[in-house]
């Protein structure tokens, strides 16, 4: 039954997409009137609604027939910015070249994103926010969930953009503004040039394949810098690219080789001179190094709590000063990841790029993150944990870090009901009121 519903929704969405591309707003209204006139004019003896029906039908058929021929030839380029951010309008340029010998006026640009329809697995496993409050029929049939998934996967709505008259063999640039609705890659499929028919109901279309992608960074909230108590920690071997700022690797002396010394530290000239391995010894390096631990363990795709947690992590990442310190972003996806930024190793933007693409982890226990963090605790001056719940496993991680002497700040993101019984030193951030929560820090 679910598969049948899925197929039906799939076909309906495809039909709706084609209809939306083909019809202008007047055309959509005409089709609506046509549908109503069919109902009212079904019995031609009772009302004269059938006269409305035949007139509107004639208008639509005539418009459709006149949109069968469109002799335009076009080329297009899309010039995208490097990044966009969720909820922040972004403008990009599309250059259209008219490759015909005549001026083309009255056209509309439809920039198209890739197919947003979810797969069957996504449809079955996803849970719309607040779905438990929907009525039985909606929960069973799942159309609201389908519509929500489509809007989530679409990522942005690009309104039709009327084009200025296109002169022959000249490239004309137009600006298109979109507001991304979700983080991750916004994938463009192509552009379509639409030409409404003389009555303005149905459009003739010329499509140009133009696949591109725009990375949408997570939503960030303004917040004060988080200050965590802690000391500089010894970083064995230093940080390879951090030599231009702060403490660098400084040569101290030569000494005899000891088992375990890396081969690259052997001083070959001295080795040749004295006949036994000699290695170079450097000054130990001590950095301030913080970990930003993101909890990715959620069961639902598109979980709003998880999305807000990613936004909180992104907000924390950009609020921390990384000129003099390092910031490790740690989370578990298909495996445990640790990305380091600061002191010239990488910029915070790169952490945001990583956060833009982070997905929920549904096949591993929280314990895997616990191990990944504890394994690196001796490098860490402090730790900021962004958690999705405050259960035993998460409490154990925090207790473990505190027992190891690692100063820890904990943020728990969730619905209001889940935040009532948090300890005083744990910051609860309510979904929908994250900005307020972070502003209170």
């Amino acid at each position: 039954m679910k598969r049948l519903l899925f197929r039906w929704f799939n076909s309906f969405s495809a039909f709706q997409y084609r209809l939306d591309r083909r019809c202008t707003r007047a055309g959509s209204l005409a089709l609506g009137v046509l549908g109503a006139a069919v109902v009212i004019g079904l019995d031609t003896n009772r009302t004269v609604g059938y006269q409305v029906l035949t007139l509107v039908l004639a208008l639509v058929v005539l418009s459709a027939a006149s949109s069968l021929v469109f002799r335009g030839r076009f080329a297009a380029r899309r010039i995208l910015p490097r990044f966009a951010s969720v909820g922040v309008p972004v403008t990009y340029r599309v250059a259209i070249a008219n490759q015909t010998g005549r001026r083309q006026a009255g056209l509309v640009l439809l920039d198209e994103l890739s197919d947003p329809r979810p797969s069957f697995e996504e449809f079955v496993t996803a849970r719309e926010p607040g779905e438990e409050r929907r009525n039985w029929f909606d929960r069973q049939v799942g159309y609201p969930r389908w519509a929500w998934l489509v809007s989530q996967k679409r990522g942005a709505v690009i309104p039709p953009r009327p084009l200025p008259p296109l002169d022959p063999v000249v490239e004309t640039e137009v600006m298109v503004e979109i507001t991304p609705l979700r983080r991750g890659h916004l994938r463009f499929k192509g552009v379509t040039i639409a030409r409404p028919d003389p009555l303005g109901l149905i459009q003739a279309l010329k499509s140009i394949a133009l696949p591109q992608s725009l990375l949408v960074l997570p939503k960030r909230y303004p917040m004060a810098e988080i200050r965590i108590a802690g000391t500089r920690k010894y970083q064995p071997g230093g940080v390879a690219l951090a030599s231009t700022v702060g403490d660098s690797e400084e040569f101290v002396s030569l000494r005899d080789y000891r088992a375990g010394d890396p081969m690259r530290r052997i001083h070959w000239k001295s080795f040749a001179r004295v006949g036994r391995p000699v290695v170079k010894e450097y000054l130990d390096e001590f950095f301030v190094r913080h970990a930003l631990v993101l909890d990715t363990f959620t069961t639902h795709l598109g979980d709003p709590v998880f999305e807000e947690a990613v936004s909180v992590a992104a907000s924390i990442a950009i609020s921390m000063q990384t000129q003099e310190s390092l910031l490790d972003l740690m989370f578990v996806g298909p495996e445990a990841y640790c990305f380091t930024a600061g002191r010239g190793v990488a910029h915070t933007e790169q952490l945001l790029e990583v956060l833009a693409c982070v997905g929920p982890c549904q096949d591993k226990p929280f314990r895997s993150l616990h191990h990944a963090v504890i394994d690196r605790h001796d490098l860490l001056s402090g730790c900021v944990c962004v958690l999705l719940a405050w259960d035993d496993a998460r409490q154990e991680l925090v207790r473990h870090l505190e027992a190891l002497g690692t100063p820890t700040r904990v943020f728990v993101v969730g619905e209001r009901a889940t935040l009532d019984r948090l300890p005083g030193d744990v910051h609860g951030l309510e979904v929908g009121r994250i900005a307020e929560g972070l502003a209170c820090l």
């Binding site: 202008t24 707003r25 007047a26 209204l29 609506g32 009137v33 109503a36 006139a37 009212i40 004019g41 019995d43 031609t44 003896n45 009772r46 009302t47 004269v48 609604g49 059938y50 006269q51 409305v52 029906l53 035949t54 007139l55 509107v56 039908l57 004639a58 208008l59 058929v61 005539l62 418009s63 006149s66 006026a105 009255g106 056209l107 607040g130 039709p160 030409r195 409404p196 028919d197 003389p198 009555l199 303005g200 109901l201 929908g432």
Partner: protein
């Protein structure tokens, strides 16, 4: 993107609607009100909640109007007038006008989608920070006016011409600027001609299709008896089972002899397994002066009467009448027809009719016997002659022959709704008379009719109902579908007499097979009957006549709601159009200070907190005013009167102190 209809289009559509539906006197002021919105400068500041209430009010108006129309259009429908649903559709532009007018006269200029969907309202209540979508009702209302005008069913060329003009008017702003209007005009013309041809063909097609199909399908699906033919279940195998549904209600009369037979039709030609009515063309019966009394002839004493309530299918049907009926009173139908076999059919009646039939044993409803009333089918002739001979029916009066036949069946036959296999060579009647000697009423009636004919007594096969069940719930006799019965009419002593030879146990047998849920069905059936009687009542004292008065308080409520809204000027409306809901603290004097500073070139930047702003421009003396402003603006408890006065006084003092300075700064510009 264009979404607002062009000037005068909505007014023209309303006038068109009024012209077609006969509500021109109503449409004219509505059209003026709608178009005046373009000229008037004031607007109402309506919030989303106000639109919700307006939508609810319109919904209520529609429901009340629906109930009113549903309850008061019985007579109109009987005369083939429009149905309540069609009339309600015609009223819709008027009933939805408050919502459209509110949109046009509101500062928002659009209606939030939450007004139409409860789910969206709940969603908006859960997440107040999300802004719901909005819709402009202009073109939708235009379409509604046109479609409602079509429901008036005025088949004139003016309607189609008006329709084409309005369609062209509505489409003109949407035309593609790529093409010259010289393209647009011919295309619209072609569409108009094609639409005209299309609707002529469509109407013709429906007429032809109706002619071919309607009668055939209707004859299958409708439940009325066919006065020209009835097919019996004689020869069918298995159990005969009929429904418990109540089909007739018979008002009690003293001395009603049970079972009492009510006949629908009688037949004179038997062609196994069907009975046919030969030469039974219907002739119209003229009503008496009151229009509700239909007399078939002069009755003879003693006169008896019975009152029957029956449902009519689409206002048509065959009446159930007692034998010997000569007059029907209080029958509100347009036409009554009768045939020589005593069938009476009515046309263009209400959904439920209640009539009183006057009858006498020698009533004139049935025509005198003719040759087919004595004809025995050749296939059954030998069998029936043999049985008649066995019963010695050759001699004696008709009354004695009837009594002999009745006694024969009473003594030798039993009732059964079950029929098993029979030898191939035997007819069903032969098997019934000679072997099984058991069957249901159709066997008894057919055998009796043919046996009497074989004995020389004119006889007919009659179908109808047997009244035998008293309903304590309804305090009247009820007749169920399973009480359908057949019997014989025998012409004895110059009159047609009912001869029912089916053993009386048939009623108990049928009763024993009734459903366990029968009491529940009866209750529902009674409730439906009471509702139908109220609905189809011709009595002016019914609640339906007064339902229109319910509209008055509703309209007054709407007027009061709109009048109590704060009016604002159009300029102010434009600036506030993006803020549908008034926020607390918007009248804080701190905004005057902010305006003064902005004029001086020290304005606050986008997204800059005011506290940082006054730090940046070194205006720390504004700190206490800002604190009060913040509390006035955001503190749910607000300011008490003293603090409010303090905010006002401090702000005015600052404005006084910095008036000249600000002007000076503004004059030289700020770098």
């Amino acid at each position: 993107m264009l979404v607002t209809p062009p000037p005068m289009l909505l007014g023209a559509a309303l006038l068109f609607w009024g012209w077609q539906t006969g509500f021109l006197f109503l449409a004219l002021p509505l059209a003026i009100l709608i178009e005046a919105a373009r000229a008037l400068t004031w607007r109402l500041e309506l919030s989303a909640t106000d639109f919700h209430r307006l939508t609810d009010l319109c919904t209520l108006l529609i429901v009340v109007s629906g109930v009113y129309l549903f309850s008061t259009t019985g007579t109109a429908r009987a005369a083939d007038g429009p149905r309540a649903m069609t009339l309600l559709f015609q009223w819709l532009p008027f009933l939805l006008f408050p919502l459209v007018a509110s949109q046009l006269y509101s500062t928002a200029g659009k209606v939030p989608l939450t007004a139409f969907f409860w789910a969206l309202r709940r969603q908006a209540a859960r997440a107040p920070e999300t802004r719901p979508g909005q819709v402009d009702l202009g073109y939708l209302y235009f379409a509604l006016c046109v479609l409602s005008a079509s429901a008036a069913n005025r088949r004139t060329l003016e309607f189609y011409a008006g329709l084409c003009v309005l369609a062209g008017w509505a489409l003109w702003p949407w035309r593609s600027r790529r093409f010259s209007p010289l393209w647009w005009v011919p295309m619209l013309g072609i569409a108009a001609v094609a639409g005209y041809g299309g609707h002529v063909v469509l109407h013709r097609f429906q007429q032809v299709a109706e002619q071919m199909v309607f009668d055939y399908i209707f004859s299958i699906v409708r439940g009325d008896v066919d006065p020209f033919r009835v097919t019996t279940a004689i020869g069918h195998l298995g159990r005969l089972k009929l429904s418990d549904r109540t089909v007739l209600r018979v008002e009690p009369r003293e001395g009603l002899h049970l079972p009492f037979l009510l006949r629908e039709a009688s037949y004179d030609v038997y062609n196994s397994p069907a009975w046919l009515a030969s030469g039974a063309a219907f002739t119209a019966v003229q009503p008496e002066a009151d229009g509700e009394t239909w007399r078939f002839g002069t009755g003879r004493s003693p006169v008896e009467r019975v009152t029957v309530s029956a449902y009519l299918n689409r206002g048509r049907g065959v009446l159930t009448l007692p034998g010997g009926a000569f007059e029907i009173d209080r029958l509100a139908v347009v036409g009554v027809h009768r045939n020589r076999l005593g069938a009476v059919k009515v046309e263009e009646g209400l959904g439920l009719v209640t009539y009183t039939a006057l009858f006498a044993p020698d009533g004139p409803l049935d025509g005198p016997p003719i040759e087919p009333d004595l004809r025995v089918p050749p296939r059954e002739a030998a069998l029936l002659s043999r049985v008649a001979m066995d019963l010695s029916l050759a001699g004696g009066s008709p009354a004695e022959k009837v009594e002999t036949v009745a006694a024969y069946f009473r003594r030798n036959f039993k009732y059964s709704t079950w029929k098993g296999e029979r030898p191939r060579k035997e007819s069903a009647l032969e098997e019934f008379l000679l072997n099984s000697r058991a069957g249901h009423c159709e066997y008894f009636a057919t055998a009796t009719t043919l046996l009497l004919r074989a004995a020389g007594v004119p006889a007919r096969y009659a179908v109808g109902f047997s009244v035998q069940e008293w309903s304590r719930l309804e305090q009247r006799y009820i007749v169920r579908a399973r009480h359908a019965h057949s019997w014989t009419l025998a012409y004895v002593h110059g009159a047609w007499r009912d001869v029912d030879t089916t053993p009386p146990v048939w009623a108990e047998t049928e009763q024993s097979e009734s459903s366990l849920l029968e009491p529940v069905h009866d209750l529902w059936s009674f409730a439906t009957f009471l509702f139908s009687r109220w609905r189809w009542s011709e009595d002016d004292s019914g609640i339906g006549r007064h339902a229109a008065w319910l509209l008055i308080p509703l309209v007054l409520l709407l007027v009061w709601r709109l009048y109590s809204r704060r009016r604002v000027g159009r300029e102010a409306a434009a600036s506030r159009a993006t803020v549908a809901v008034a926020r607390p603290g918007q009248d804080s004097e701190f905004y005057l200070i902010a305006d003064r500073l902005r004029t001086a070139g020290l304005g606050r930047q986008a997204a800059e907190p005011p506290s940082e702003w006054i730090e940046r421009i070194h205006a720390r003396e504004l700190g206490p005013i800002l604190d009060l402003h913040y509390r006035y603006r955001f503190d749910p408890a607000g300011l008490d009167p003293t603090e409010r006065s303090l905010l006002r006084a401090q702000s005015e003092a600052w404005l006084r102190d910095h008036a000249q300075e600000a002007q000076a700064v503004g004059g030289r510009g700020v770098g």
